[in-house]
């Protein structure tokens, strides 16, 4: 039997499809199901890739989860329907990797706290914060690992074409969830998140600016080294993650500019915001899968 852990993806939209394409290359995850609420382009694509599909939402998946040994489920829908999806798949013994900003489970930003989460053992639900959070919280953490950060603020600028209707409808969930994770994962005492959407053609690459206000004078050498190290950690799963300038220092302000170019799996390369989300979600799932395969955490769904 393959060591791979079998998985389902809920949400056959842009994020779900991009995630599927990445998961099909994974050494640890075997995508089996794609779940939608109706016939759609995304469902058709998943079927073409050989996936089993549900067009009746998560209820169409649940009866087959045990038989198909689905142990990890990704939710790429929206914060509003996530709670219901999560409850149903967790009842079937799967781990939910939440790519919506619902934030039911603990926040996970892989290079910052995935190791800690794994040490805590099995979780029912892990939340991937937001695209802006995945792109910026590693930088806040890189500074807060050196010295106290009293305030962390991120500005995510994304191409209009890379923000779907779900995010637009619930933009406050983006700002709130990101701000919360800047504090809880990034280590800033207070967090703030701003998102700006630019419709320029050709679409601009995702750009993020990270401002930290340190408690004491910043240790410039140590912070610079920490930032460069962290960029390398992120590049392990998002090769297009680049430091474009900084860290620059102005009194107690530390500012870092990054750019995120996607892999271009399903979405164009400018959608680095979506790419970093699917890459982080998959990275998290792979680490859980590896821990399950090694018996470090229990895989309760195994029949």
């Amino acid at each position: 039997m393959s060591k791979k852990i079998r998985a389902a993806i809920i949400g056959p939209g842009n994020i779900g499809t991009d995630l599927l394409m990445k998961a099909m290359r994974s050494d640890w995850i075997e995508p089996v199901w794609m779940v939608g609420i109706e016939e759609s382009e995304g469902i058709k694509r998943a079927r073409d890739f050989g996936m089993k599909v549900s067009t009746s939402g998560v209820d169409g998946l649940v009866p087959s989860m045990k038989d198909d040994n689905i142990q990890i489920v990704f939710d790429a829908t929206s914060a509003y329907v996530h709670a219901d999806n999560s409850r149903k798949v967790v009842e079937q013994g799967a781990i939910m990797i939440d790519l919506t900003p619902a934030a039911i489970g603990p926040f996970c930003v892989p290079p910052v706290n995935l190791g800690e989460l794994l040490k805590e053992g099995r979780k029912d639900n892990v939340n991937m914060v937001t695209c802006g959070g995945q792109a910026t919280i590693p930088m806040v953490a890189a500074v807060s690992q050196v010295q106290d950060v009293e305030y962390g603020e991120i500005v995510a600028t994304v191409a209009s074409k890379s923000i779907g209707p779900g995010t637009r409808k619930n933009i406050d969930e983006f700002t709130r969830t990101t701000a919360g994770a800047i504090e809880q994962v990034g280590g800033a005492t207070k967090g703030k998140a701003i998102i700006v959407c630019n419709p320029a053609e050709p679409p601009l690459m995702m750009r993020d600016t990270i401002h930290c206000l340190t408690k004491d004078e910043p240790n410039q050498d140590a912070i610079t080294k920490s930032v460069h190290n962290m960029v390398k950690e992120v590049q392990k799963y998002v090769p297009g993650y680049r430091l474009i300038n900084g860290p620059i220092f102005d009194g107690k302000r530390v500012t870092i500019f990054v750019e995120v170019e996607g892999l271009g799996d399903f979405l164009p390369t400018y959608s680095g915001n979506l790419d970093i989300m699917t890459a982080a979600g998959l990275r998290t799932a792979e680490m859980y899968a590896e821990a399950m395969a090694n018996g470090d955490i229990s895989s309760t769904a195994t029949a």
Binding site: Y151, E153, V155, T157, S160, P165, R168, K169, N170, I171, D172, F174, T175, R176, K192, I194, I195, V196, C197, N198, P199, A200, L204, R207, T209, H211, L213, I244, N245, I248, R253, T255, F257
Partner: protein, 340 residues
């Protein structure tokens, strides 16, 4: 142009847009003093708080002298007739800010998005409208798209519950015929009961002319600012517009001599630098750059030794939209690097 008897609601911006040239440092006492004087001049609607609206307090846009809550708390109880409005940019502020402002007693919430991104405002317009607030959809940088494209976005905001839609010339780029074209199309296609507004910047010295064009084409709410205190070369100078409208026998309900006194005696002395059309602010208008980028470009110019005008022109070339202040320092650094 015949505006005789036409009722026009003038909306003062000096305590919100005026926060930009003041780097958000207008004190609570100054705000109370000016708002009371505007109220006594018959200005019916006054906007206060951070220049970038509710929740704007940040490293990116600047930390204000006092919180949104403190400004609203201080000003609202002092008003005899004037109502107070607040601006909210989704992506910066949230419905939590909106609820806070409503609890303190604002009459009007203006939800602002870039002109192509109206669907970011559904949550906020929907809630404000449901709460019974005067709810305005505020389409910024409206020069960047055609009248037809603007209409599509305006229809979205109207469908979410906005009872008034603004064509917002954030860059002070529009010429009068472009204002006429946009407002006239909105007027012919939006519900007859939906009000229309125009927000101008004086970067091409067209604030008053554009406002008149908007009124003639069907707008009934016009933003201006006493002594023009606002981003870039400022907003449409409100006392000038009020005087012009008075000469045209339009009905604004404003005592123009009292308003002139506010501008002359309270606002001008408050200015750190005289807000006027100069090389940089004219460049904003000429090239179509978001007006609040002005001071950011000037500070970056001083720090990195590249001309502020060049920074602004580069921001225009990048098609930067409102909120991208963070890119200004980056652009200046890159230009300085390229010069080496």
């Amino acid at each position: 142009m015949d505006l005789k008897g036409k009722k026009v609601t003038l909306h003062d911006m000096c305590l919100r847009d005026g926060m930009h040239p003041k780097q958000h440092q207008i004190s609570i006492d100054e705000m109370i003093d000016i708002a009371v004087a505007l109220d006594e001049s018959g200005v019916p609607l006054i906007e206060v708080t951070h220049g970038d609206g509710l929740g704007g307090a940040s490293v990116n846009y600047g930390f204000p002298a006092a919180s949104d809550e403190a400004y609203l708390d201080a000003v609202i109880p002092k008003m005899k007739n004037a109502k107070i409005s607040a601006l909210l940019l989704p992506g910066i502020g949230t419905v939590d800010h909106l609820k806070m402002a409503a609890d303190i007693g604002v009459s009007t919430i203006r939800v602002a998005t870039h002109c192509t991104e109206a669907d970011f405002s559904e949550q906020h317009i929907g809630l404000a409208s449901k709460m019974g607030l005067d709810t305005v959809g505020f389409l910024m940088m409206a020069h960047m798209i055609s009248a037809e494209a603007l209409l599509e976005q305006a229809l979205l905001m109207e469908s979410y519950g906005a009872n008034c839609i603004y064509c917002t010339d954030s860059a002070g780029y529009m010429l009068p015929h472009q204002v006429t074209e946009r407002i006239a199309l909105l007027r012919s296609k939006l519900k007859p009961e939906t009000e229309l507004g125009f927000h101008g910047h004086h970067n091409m010295a067209l604030g008053v002319a554009n406002s008149l064009a908007a009124i003639e084409a069907g707008a009934n709410r016009i933003d201006g600012s006493a002594a023009g205190l606002g981003a870039g070369a400022g907003n449409t100078p409100l006392e000038v517009l009020a005087a012009v409208l008075k000469r045209m026998d339009a009905d604004t309900g404003i005592d123009i001599f009292k308003l002139m006194a506010v501008a002359e005696e309270k606002i001008v002395p408050l200015m750190d630098n005289i807000v006027r059309v100069d090389r940089d602010s004219l460049t904003l208008g000429y090239a179509g750059v978001y007006s609040s980028f002005l001071l950011f470009a000037q500070r970056a110019s001083a720090k990195y030794g590249v001309p502020s005008q060049d920074i602004l022109l580069e921001m225009a070339r990048l098609k930067a939209v409102g909120g991208q202040e963070d890119q200004i320092e980056l652009v200046a650094m890159e230009m300085a690097e390229a010069k080496k």
